[in-house]
């Protein structure tokens, strides 16, 4: 097992396009690092560069403290699980798992049998060993691909969106399975995904990429509570953070639907601003009618018209449209495009307690805790109050 260090790595294509732009990452021995970002952000390219399937234009790649830029994939001793599993269709499950061992040439048939049996036990593939991949279900194929990776003593695991071809239910199960396996084996892992739920639940640390540039590397908690910029804030969390145009004069922040005072620290950090973007997560809103007095006193309340509600059983989503300025609207539209989503209208998405009685077309009294709010510079997207955000524990 080994640490993986990526130092100022670039990937530039013939036409000058930089798929990976000056990325530096330290992945500690035994750590599970997630590379996440919307499609085309360079996460897969970076993984393939670590694997050796893609050349590194500039920068250093160290595996276990040794420079590996020029090493062929087979000499890097990394195990990889591909998005479409890449099982060998002409070999049985047993031979698929045994394939890397047979290539190695150092193992006797008995040793191979023992190792394959052990891997098959771990992944509950015992009864499928003599079948061909085409006779297996998606989840079973996925496990065979995992088996092929764990059967050898690789320095690290590389996962390239391994769950994206599975249905939602199976994805959840396999996610837990991968997490359990990785913790038990304690093997360094780099895991690429575009799904932020996978990123949040699996990773020790998560690296968020955007257009080939690394935005933030942090624990899931840090990413959620203290996003470094508009992009990370919008990417992490589901449903995504609400972005609202805001201005500040003195200590008074004005949003399209409410004005309130912020703390002195926040006001100092922000200064006087005509325009900024305020961000608050849907789950940080509450139905004011259901809150106790003490909590209500710390919150900002406002009444607004609820357009549509969606009751999910465990929570209630309410949609509250608001007016925005053209400049912010353009800004948010650009961001939505980058995040692979389509924002059709400017509206607050509010996640309320499922017991709330707010319904479609009603005026509702909502509340939020201003200390949970982030403020972003509309031009650069930087989070202006990141240092003041409280990390949830």
């Amino acid at each position: 097992m080994a640490s993986i260090t990526v130092k100022n790595v670039f990937k530039e294509y013939g036409d000058g396009f930089k798929a990976v732009n000056d990325i530096s990452l330290e992945i500690a021995d035994g750590e599970l690092m997630i590379l996440v970002g919307p499609s085309g952000c360079g996460k897969s390219t970076l993984l393939r560069m670590i694997a050796g399937l893609e050349d590194i234009t500039a920068g250093d790649l160290m595996i276990g403290g040794e420079r590996a830029n020029e090493k062929a994939p087979r000499d890097r001793n990394l195990a990889m699980v591909f998005q479409n599993y890449a099982l060998y269709p002409h070999l049985t499950v047993y031979e698929n798992i045994a394939f890397p061992l047979r290539l190695n040439g150092k193992y006797s048939d008995e040793q191979i049998r023992a190792k394959v049996d052990e891997a098959a036990d771990t992944l509950e593939l015992k009864e499928h060993l003599e079948r061909k991949p085409s006779q297996l279900s998606g989840g079973q194929r996925q496990r065979v691909a995992m088996g092929r990776a764990i059967v050898r003593e690789a320095e690290a695991f590389l996962f390239d969106e391994p769950l994206s071809n599975l249905d939602a239910k199976l994805r959840g199960q396999m996610r837990t399975e991968i997490s359990r396996l990785q913790r038990r084996m304690g093997i360094t892992t780099v895991y690429v995904t575009h799904d932020q739920t996978e990123a949040m639940t699996l990773g020790d640390r998560v690296a968020v990429l955007r257009k080939g540039v690394l935005q933030q590397v942090d624990t899931p908690r840090e990413l959620y509570t203290r996003p470094i910029n508009l992009f990370v804030a919008g990417f992490i969390g589901s449903p995504p953070m609400n972005f609202v145009p805001a201005s500040i004069a003195g200590r008074t922040v004005t949003l399209p639907f409410v004005s309130f005072d912020v703390s002195q620290e926040v006001a100092t950090a922000l200064g006087e601003r005509e325009l900024m973007i305020a961000g608050i997560r849907p789950e940080h809103f509450e139905d004011a009618d259901m809150m106790d007095e003490g909590k209500l006193a710390q919150s900002v309340t406002f009444t607004d018209h609820v357009d549509v509600t969606e009751w999910l059983g465990n929570e209630l989503f309410a949609y509250v449209p608001f007016e925005t300025t053209a400049e912010v609207h353009e800004n948010l539209k650009g961001l939505a495009r980058e995040l692979d989503s389509e924002s059709l209208r400017t509206q607050l998405v509010v996640a309320l307690d499922a017991a709330s009685r707010i319904g479609d077309g009603q005026d509702a009294k909502l509340a939020f805790d201003p200390s949970k709010m982030h403020f972003f510079d509309p031009a650069s997207g930087d989070n202006l109050t990141r240092d003041l955000a409280v990390v949830a524990h």
């Binding site: 694997a51 050796g52 399937l53 062929a72 994939p73 087979r74 001793n77 990394l78 195990a79 990889m80 591909f82 479409n84 890449a86 099982l87 060998y88 269709p89 002409h90 394939f99 890397p100 290539l103 190695n104 092929r148 050898r152 590389l158």
Partner: protein
């Protein structure tokens, strides 16, 4: 709902089968007519006899030709497929300058009529000493079947996803191991198809066989048939020729029956995503 064959379909099928098999049956029937029975003006022999087959197998002209045909066809096929496999892999996978040119030249070669090349080849072969040798036939057979094998196989290789190779590399395979243990087995239907097509070409060829040989040293069966006489020179050789023709058809039929499934897979696989 299960589709039921109507009378017209059955009639059509019978007609097509009769159309295709009549000449074959006729040749088999001829080969079973002994001596002058060949002039009996009937479709079937008056008396079934294996005389022609005995004659054929006792004629050194035929037995040596059979040996030549088998040897030359197998060698030409093996060489053609081996070269085409490696070349097609390169064409399908690597990006090198002149890739398109290689493919179009290969196609151009396949379009050349064999007859136009036989004359020059005859002259060259005589001066370099390849005339009337196995190698002298293996080389043209190999060259003429290469383009087809190349096109068939490169289509196959293109169908194999890149990830297969990448997975093999990650599993610790050298490029050669990845090729041999993953790519070639996956392209097996294509390799079979190419091999069988190449074998048919070599086995059935007449033009090169008759022009580039002069003795039993290398003359293949189709050419040797032209030199057949009957049991005596006053007899018509038609019976013996038919018997020989039946004998040389057998390997082809056996091959097709053996690899029928693989060929069908091979001929359709390139078109449909697997």
């Amino acid at each position: 709902m299960k589709r039921r064959e109507g009378p017209w379909t059955i009639l059509g099928a019978v007609l097509i089968i009769a159309w295709a098999l009549a000449p074959v049956v006729w040749i088999i029937s001829l080969s079973l007519k002994a001596g002058d029975d060949i002039n009996n003006n009937k479709f079937w022999p008056t008396k079934f006899s294996t005389e022609n087959y005995e004659t054929v197998f006792n004629t050194p002209l035929f037995t040596s030709a059979l040996r030549n045909s088998i040897g030359i066809s197998l060698l030409a096929t093996a060489l053609s497929v081996a070269i085409a496999t490696v070349a097609a892999y390169a064409i399908a996978r690597l990006d090198f300058p002149g890739k398109k040119t290689v493919l179009s030249i290969a196609l151009a070669i396949a379009m050349f009529p064999a007859v136009s090349l036989v004359g020059p080849l005859f002259n060259i072969w005589r001066s370099v000493g390849l005339y009337d040798t196995w190698l002298g036939l293996i080389i043209p057979y190999m060259s003429f079947t290469l383009p087809l094998s190349l096109w068939t196989l490169s289509a196959f290789f293109r169908e194999i996803p890149w990830e297969m190779e990448e997975a093999a590399q990650m599993d610790g395979a050298t490029p050669w191991q990845a090729f041999r243990k993953v790519i070639v087995p996956l392209a097996a239907p294509g390799v079979f198809t190419a091999a069988i097509l190449a074998f048919f070409f070599a086995w059935n060829d007449f033009v090169f066989g008759i022009s580039l040989t002069s003795t039993d040293a290398a003359r293949p069966v189709p050419a040797a048939l032209a030199f057949f006489t009957g049991a005596s020179q006053f007899q018509q050789p038609a019976g013996a020729i038919s018997a020989a023709a039946v004998v040389v058809t057998i390997p082809v039929v056996v091959l097709v029956l053996l690899f029928q499934k693989k060929i069908v897979a091979g001929l359709t696989n390139g078109a449909v995503k697997g």
